[in-house]
């Protein structure tokens, strides 16, 4: 258990261990640079290596730079430095603990996968199931457990995030900043600059308006017919929320839940776990019209006031499609800058808007797009990255 005196070969093995551990952390998605490894090498001889808690604290202080990573670090440490007789080099095969009886902690699968043999698995292609047109009427009140996200998927998602070119210039705010091509004079800076020359030279300093990306509000359908996609979209929204500050996320099935705060946690697993804790009706039926009504009544004024783009992610399979649905869609459309409907059903080539609900909703959206895998999410990002078309709406609406 305790290693009191490190023999030279032990020290070498020890250095290997640290390097291996750092690689494992990196593979699990933590940013660990060579500098941190060198720090760890230098720090460990200073403390008593026999004391596992001290080693943990020391390594944590060196490798963990953000609170969100503490969880991953703890699990990686426990897996890597088992309290065994000797320190094994475990990078190639980590016996997975028996977790059949207890729910794996968020992040654990990622750490295990990162430490086991690296498999170059691609993100599994989604099976094309038959359309499940039956919307269950009874509300299934259950806590749905997210399948833990794999390291491969995380990497894929991270790559997707890196490729994201989120909208830069969309909304002109009324706040100003120095800009040589600006239209307004910055008298204060002009004066201060001219004072340097005793008022002889007056160099004009100008102000231009600051541009800010528009806020995004996502309404995500989590009814049974959407269940295959929910997790993927939540990951996407989590990523978008990381990249830009103003993203609100609502989930709706039979009721509407605001999960914006739950999604703010930086670790996607933790974020998704707290989302699932917040929502009570995973994979129940859909009541789009009632959910939209609630959103319009309780939230629209609070999150749409800054010229937001709304992403409505739903298959539009609504049992109770009536004029109310059209009315609520219209209201939503009129209270946001742009309404984009993302529908996974569009992946079918011969998709036609036959369902009553879809017909009701279609006239009230600015854009109707497929979204069912990473590539269509990529396309969506491209769309969001284009400068918005000028904001005009025809006053004459097609009759719903």
């Amino acid at each position: 258990m305790a290693i009191n005196h490190l023999a030279p070969d032990k020290t070498e093995q020890f250095a290997d261990n640290i390097v291996g551990f750092a690689r494992a952390l990196r593979a699990a998605g933590m940013p660990v640079g060579p500098g941190a490894v060198i720090d760890a090498m230098n720090a460990l001889p200073v403390i008593e290596i026999g004391n596992r808690a001290d080693v943990f604290t020391t390594l944590e202080a060196i490798f963990v730079k953000r609170h969100e990573h503490a969880l991953i670090f703890r699990q990686a440490f426990n897996l890597f430095f088992r309290a065994s007789e000797e320190w094994k080099h475990m990078l190639d095969s980590v016996p997975l603990p028996d977790q059949a009886k207890k729910k794996p902690q968020a992040g654990s699968r990622r750490v295990q996968e990162a430490m086991s043999q690296p498999k170059m698995t691609e993100t599994p292609q989604h099976q094309e199931h038959d359309l499940r047109l039956s919307v269950s009427d009874k509300e299934i009140l259950q806590k749905k457990d997210f399948a833990q996200m794999s390291a491969a998927e995380i990497t894929e998602a991270l790559r997707a995030i890196e490729r994201m070119r989120l909208p830069q210039a969309e909304l002109l705010t009324r706040r100003r900043q120095p800009d040589p091509r600006g239209l307004r004079l910055d008298m204060r800076r002009t004066l201060r600059a001219s004072l340097r020359t005793g008022g002889d030279i007056i160099d004009l300093h100008r102000l231009g308006r600051i541009e800010k990306p528009a806020p995004i509000v996502a309404l995500l359908d989590i009814s049974g017919s959407m269940s295959e996609y929910t997790r993927l979209f939540l990951h996407f929204l989590h990523a978008v929320g990381d990249a830009r500050k103003r993203v609100s996320v609502f989930l709706f099935g039979t009721r509407l839940t605001n999960v914006t705060r739950a999604l703010r946690q930086r670790d996607p697993d933790e974020a998704l776990a707290s989302c699932s804790a917040a929502v009570e009706d995973w994979a129940g039926g859909t009541r789009i019209s009632a959910s939209l009504h609630n959103f319009n009544k309780l939230w629209a004024r609070r999150v749409l006031s800054q010229g937001a783009i709304v992403l409505l992610i739903s298959d539009g399979l609504e049992r109770e499609a009536d004029s109310r649905l059209a009315f609520e869609m219209d209201r939503l459309h009129r209270s946001c800058r742009r309404l984009i409907w993302l529908n996974p059903l569009l992946r079918f080539g011969g998709f036609e808007a036959k369902a009553q609900g879809i017909k009701m909703m279609l006239p009230h959206v600015d854009e109707f797009r497929p979204v069912h895998n990473l590539s269509s999410i990529q396309e969506l990002i491209t769309t969001l990255s284009r400068p918005l078309p000028p904001h005009h709406r025809s006053l004459i609406r097609p009759a719903a």
């Binding site: 100003r176 004066l191 004072l195 008022g199 009544k297 609070r302 009315f327 209201r331």
Partner: protein
Amino acid sequence: MTSATNTSGANTSVVLPASVDAMLELLTSRGYLAERSLATVTYLALRMGRPLFLEGEAGVGKTEIAKVLSAALGRKLIRLQCYEGLDVSSAVYEWNSAAQMIAIRMAEAAGDTDRDQLSSDIFADRYMIKRPLLQALEPDVAGPPVLLIDELDRADEAFEAYLLEILSDFQVTIPEFGTVKAPHPPIVIITSNRTREIHDALKRRCLYHWVDYPAADRELAIVKSRVPGISAKLSQQVVRFVQALRNQDFYKSPGVAETIDWATALSELDARSLTPQVVGDTLGALLKYQDDITRMQGDTLQKVLKEATSEN
């Protein structure tokens, strides 16, 4: 825009209320019939020297309380109306560039070449235009003023962050001038209509209170005190009608301000009691969305009206 008004006119500062009851009495004496909970948080805000953060639907009397408070305490009311793009130059201070330019030219004409002297001259107090936040930090003979930061949700996050600094230290640093610190912190009241969520950091520094629609009996008292000369029967019907409207699922329920408006409108029209005709004609004083007005036609109107005019 921004304005600072002295509502009291008198420079006699009133002693702060010593209990919740005293606070309630103080507000009532000025015609503000507050719920006890609102009087409690207001009293606490004054005692603890913390800003009071009032959130609620439009027209429930959030702004009004600041006006009443300043009048009742004999303090100056300084109002900062927020809007998108509100920045330091319109909220805190601004240099009077035109006057400074003239001063520079005058110095040149007089042959002054001492640059340091010149720059300290033109960044003096008299070239500074003080905006509400700076005014609120200045000492006042009547005691610290009431600073009303109205509809903070309309300003952007950057302004909110700036405000954090002011609300924690009650001081402003002006690069060319120095630091201005309030000898006694002002009484700060912040209102928000929740058109966006205000950041937690700011709320944490304040006492928070959600101002709700008043109950029927309180609203009746408010109408009677605000619309003098309205008949008892009509005022009762008006309040009942409005209360019934709030139970309906409207996009925008009428606030107390709308109730007072409507009651005033009805008494201007010499209405004795509510009839479908008179209600239909004046509904625009209560409901501000076409969808809501359309919903209030025919059966719904009859039903609510019947409820409001029944004699029990």
